[in-house]
Structure formats: structure tokens, C-alpha cells
Amino acid sequence: MTAPTVDRAASRSGRWHIPITVEQRAASRFLQQLGVNLVALVLAFGLGAILLLMAGDNPLDVYREMFDRAFGSSRALRETLRSTTPLILTGLAVTVCFRMGLWSIGAEGQLIAGSVAGAAAALVLGPSLPAPLAVAAVVIAAALGGAAWATLAAVPRALFGTDEVVTTLMLNFVALGIMNYLIFGSVSYWRDRTNPGFPAGKVIPESTQLDPYFGVFDAGLILSLALALIVALALRRTVWGYQLRVAGDSRAAASYAGINSTRQIISVFAVSGALAGVAGGTYVMSITFALEPRAIAVNLGFVGIVVAAVALLKPLLVVPIAFLMGALLSTAPSLSIFGVSPAVVIVIQGIILLCVAGAQFFIRYRVRITRVEVGSR
């Protein structure tokens, strides 16, 4: 059961002996994982309660409000699920890249590229196609847009070994600049010229606006759940997924095994970009109904990195984490209305995330107080 000690050197350094050892757990059981996560949540809400008390709010009231606004009615659930969809997709996009050890932080830009392409498809094809086909066209266009944007970083990475962290990060700003230009800086196809007020995007046709089923969830959520399943299966059951995992564990082993790394890197980037692009497409169809730069560039791609990390890069785990995250983020305005200062809301969100992310550490490692006799080394 006891796995090799990870951090002994640090505890031995200097004169002071720190009697704490961090050990990797050989295997953690499901119940154990659940327990650690629950403790983390209790801790998070406890810390949040202290903060709320200090700010003069009643924590119980605030938490009840938070719960009500996230899950308390079908309307509340709908808002939470609308926030969940893009986070599942960007979480999956990040997962795919990170599993191969490609540190792409470009989901934000790929989401924007997907929104631009998806909005274009909706505006061009929406009026002439029946609703299901129009929606499918938007999804495909958004996926292609996101994939194309990811390829811009993938090709230099695959051919010249360019650092993908830098290129994907920079491409986020380029994508944002292009989207802003299309609406604010030019009279583009996307911009609504008949609107005399603040520059706005053309509203997409009715056929491409997603209506919620039972007033709760829309087709975007179903699509994102299906994609989570497909990604999970692809990673586990396909040659592509197997090679990806091998390369993620050891690039050298992958090349010994004859895996074509150039093609692999580009294909993984493209899949990741397509997922983030679909997030942009569904966001336009379910929330903004137009290419609205200030509504689209709200860090969904960056939050996707947090979702993927907390979900331990497991595609199916991305779904519940995105759901929690969606609930957490989408209730922020409700708490402001309730009277909690926006600054406190942000700090509470941070505390909850930190505790949940920290819990993943305790799932993989355990901390033991070591008994060491004085003088022994």
C-alpha cells in the first residue's frame, strides 16, 4: 500500500526536521475520493461563511440564496445549465490537449473563432434551412472555425517545436481583436447596420435560436454531453486515443513505437479546437443570438482550463465539474442582487475553486506525520 515517498529531501533540509511526508497513494477508492471532495466542499463553505460574517452577511441566507438561484426552480436550473454547456466543451478541449502534454491555453481564441464561424453560418444558411439542419450547419461551421484557429498554433508546434503556450495565448488576443473589429471597427457582414445604437451583431434567424426543452435545457447541452461521451470513448477505445495517451506519458516512447508525432499533434490540436469552437457556436445559438464581442469574450476558454484540471483530465468528470462551475459562476449576479458585495462573491468563488482543486491533490497523495528518531537521517 505504501508507495514511494515523494518529498523527503525537503523535509531533511537544514537543521529543522519537518515531520511531514507526502506520499503518492497507490490507488484511491471511489468512496475515498468522494470523501475528500466532500470535506473540501465543507471546508470551502466554512471559509466562505467566515468571510461572509466578516462582510456582515448571514452565511446561511447567502448559501440558501445561492442554492435556490442555481437549482431552486426550473428557471434557475435552466440558467445553470446554459452556463454548463460551454464549460463542458472548453473543459473537454483542454482535456484532449493536456492529456497529450500539449499545454494549449488557446480554447478562448478557438471559442471566439467558433462563434464567428457559427454566427456566419447561422446568418447565411439559417433563413433557408429547416431548423435541425440549420443548427447542424452552425455546429459544423463552429467546429471547423475552432479547428482552423487551433491549427494555426498546431502546425508550427508540430513542424518546428514552437512553444504552444506562447502561440495559443497570443492567438487568443488575435481572435478577440478580429471579433472586435468585425463589430466595432468595421461594417462587416456580422454587424447589424440598422442598429443606430451601440454597435451590435445581426440577430441570427429564429431557426438557429435554441429553445429549451421543458424550459430547462437545450440541444447544446445534449450535444456537449454526447461529445463528452465520445471523447471519453475515443481516448480509451481508439488507436488515436491510445497513441495520444502514450505520447502524453512519454514522447520518446511514442516515437520509438513509430507514432507520427507531426500528424498526431495537428490532429489533437484540431479536435481540441473543434470542441472549443462548438462551445462558441452553441453559445451564440443559446445565449447571445448574435456575434456580441462583449458577451462572448467572458473567459469561458480560460475557465475551461480550471474545469479540466479539477476534473483530473477525465472527460466524464468534466461534466459534473462544469455543472458545479456553471452554478457557481452563474449565481454571481444573483448574489449581488441579494446584497452581497461583488468583491466578496469573487473571493468566495475563488475559495471554493481552490478547495476543490486542492482536494484533487489529497486524492492522489497522502500526507503522513512521520516519526523520526532524533539524530537519525
Binding site: R75, F198, F289, P333, I337
Partner: protein, 416 residues
Amino acid sequence: MRRRTRTWLAVTSTMCLVMAACGDDEADAPAAPATTAAAPETETTAAAAPETTTTAAPEAPAEVTTTVPEAPTEVTDTLSASDGTGMRIAVLYDGTLDQGGWQGSMDAGTQLLVDSMPGAEVLRVEEIAPGQTAQRAMTDLAEDGYHLIIGTSTYDADMAIVSADYPETAFLHACDATVTDNMGQYCLAVEEARYVDGALAAALSETGKIGYVAAFGISFVLKPLNLFAAGARSVNPDAEVHVVFTNDWFDPNLELQAANALIDLGVDVLTYDLSSSAVPEVAAQRGAGFIGYGYDDARLQAPDSWLGGSLYNWGAAFVTTAQEVAAGTWEPGYIYGGYADGLLGYAEFGASVPAEAQDLVDSLIADIAAGDLDVFAGPIVDRDGNLVVPEGEALEFFDRAICCEWVIEGVQGEIG
């Protein structure tokens, strides 16, 4: 105050006429209160007298209680139009309340609403970004039974989406396009404000070069810029207005750099159309003067550099609308007005401003309010030499509201 009484009288008489014309359409409402002003179809024409939208007198003659037919709760709410008893109003802000400029002027408006309708519950909601956050906030507020939801930033698309789902709730949005059965717009004649500001800047600039830090190169921002330059050149025909765009509504760091760059260029008077205090800070550091933007918070931040500035009195529009909503007489439209309507005012001058410059500002405001000076009167020539408004003509209401795609002569700097 005298002006307010005058407009109040005008409104009262207009109201009587409107009521006489309406007959008993609103049998439910016992004697609609005289404090509210109807805004008859202002979205299509400006031909109506300047008094179409106006400061509603907060000191109501008598407390009139009316039943609001569109009360969202099952129990019929009893709202008081005069002091707002029973009324719930929410005001949404993009940033935090401690910002100045646009945001600060909006909050001064909310404060007027609080003071004028002491019985109403007025909620300020901060940090509401456009998009899903705004939709979420408005949905929650409508579900909670708020009677009036006021947006102070760019929520037009989101408000259009949410207001369609809550026909019983009144929605009011700042300076944009959508007007529906339960959503109206309010805006003020920034062109008048900026024209006066520009005139003061030119009167006080020794170099003839004035700096202008702006957000986006869009018509919404180009209009005040153009009219600022027009005002400046009405005083000094050779005045140059140098503009720098930050491409953000709130980026103090970039605003700081822009203001410094403008001073390096030889500018000695600065102005801006943003919410942060970056430009006043730079002006104070570098010994330049500056003109405020709609709100006089910066007068206290940098008193030695403060010259003057128009005040945006959004509160007039808020109070009018809230009272109409309470009375059940609200007709969503486009509230639009300037100095003549009490929607614009002027701040205290800085200590360094000579009496003749103060007189210039006062006389310009008097002329504009009296209708003797139309800031949009031709000839207006753009900086490419095209005649955009011919001599003897002036822009009509719709063109004023959506102005301007062009950039007036005298403006220097890259647009975008």
C-alpha cells in the same frame, strides 16, 4: 429651480391635454398624478417641443395612490407615484459604483431617484457585464417582482431578450435602439454638453491643442468628439482636437499612457469620455487643465487642474419614468433632451477659469436652452473636406441620435 417650475407647469398642462384626449381609457387609475409626463412618440420625431421629456418635480402636490394593472404579484400592489411607496426599482451597472465619469453620473441619477421617491426600494446592482450575466441579473430581478429595471450600460440586446419574457415589468435602457411595449430608452443630448465643453477648452487653451481620450471609434463616441471639436472651433477656428482611442470603456493604464502621449504632443487641455480618473490624474501631474465628463467627481480629485464640465442629469429621466410606471401611464419611448429639459447641467468652474470664459459658457448654455443655438446647424464639414450638413440646415432628430460616421474637421488622430 425656476426652470424646473416652468417645465413642471408645462408638463402639467400637457398632461391635462393628454388626459382630456385619452378620455377614460384608464378607468382603473383614479386621477392620474399630474407629476408625470407623457413622452409622445419621441422616438420618431424631435418636432415635439423640448418639454416632451422633462424633470418631474419630486415635490408632488398631493399623494395620489394608483393601482398598477401590471403588478406581477397576485396581490395587487399599491404603488404611490409621488413617493414611490411599494415600488421596487433596480439599476444595473457594468462596473463598480466608485468609478467616475459616465458611471458616476449614472449613480448620481440613481441617488436622485432615491431622494425623490423615498418610499421606493431602489437596488443598485454592480459588476453586471453584458451577455449572460446581464440576462441572468435581469431575469432574477423580473422574477423577484421588480417593477422597473434600469440599465446604465450596453445591455440593449440582453434587455430585448429578457424583456420579451416579462411583459409586466418595465425596462429602461441607456442610449440604444430597442423600443418595445415594455422597454424604453433614455438618453441625453451629449452633443449640447460636449459643444459647451469644447468651447471652454478652446477658450482656455494657450497652444490651441486639446487632447481627447476616447473609448471606441464608433458613432456613439464620435458624436461627442465631433461636437466637442465644433464647440472648440466656434471659439478658436484654428483649434486642433487630438484624439486617442483606448478600445475599452475602462482601462486606466492605457488611459494614463494616452493622456501622457497627448501632453507630449503639446496639448494643454485634456478631456475624456471614460469612467476612470486616469486623465485627471495625468493632467494634475503634468500641470495641464482638464474638462470633466458628465460628472464632477474629478473636480475633487484634481482641483487645481479642473476647469469645468457639463453634468449629465440622468436622474431626471429615471424619476419621470419611475413615476409614470407607478401611475400606470408609462409609454415606452425614447427620452431625449438637453439643457432645456433639465437633463443637462453645468458643474462648478475651476478656480483658474477667468470670468469671461465662465460668461462664455453661461451664454452658450442660455442660447442652447432657449433654442437660439443649434449645435448641429450647418455648415459642418468633415475632415476629408465633405460638406456633411449644408449651411442653413440642421440634422433632424433621427440623424442626431445615430450621428456620426464622419469626423469633423479639426480632429487629429487615427480613428479606431
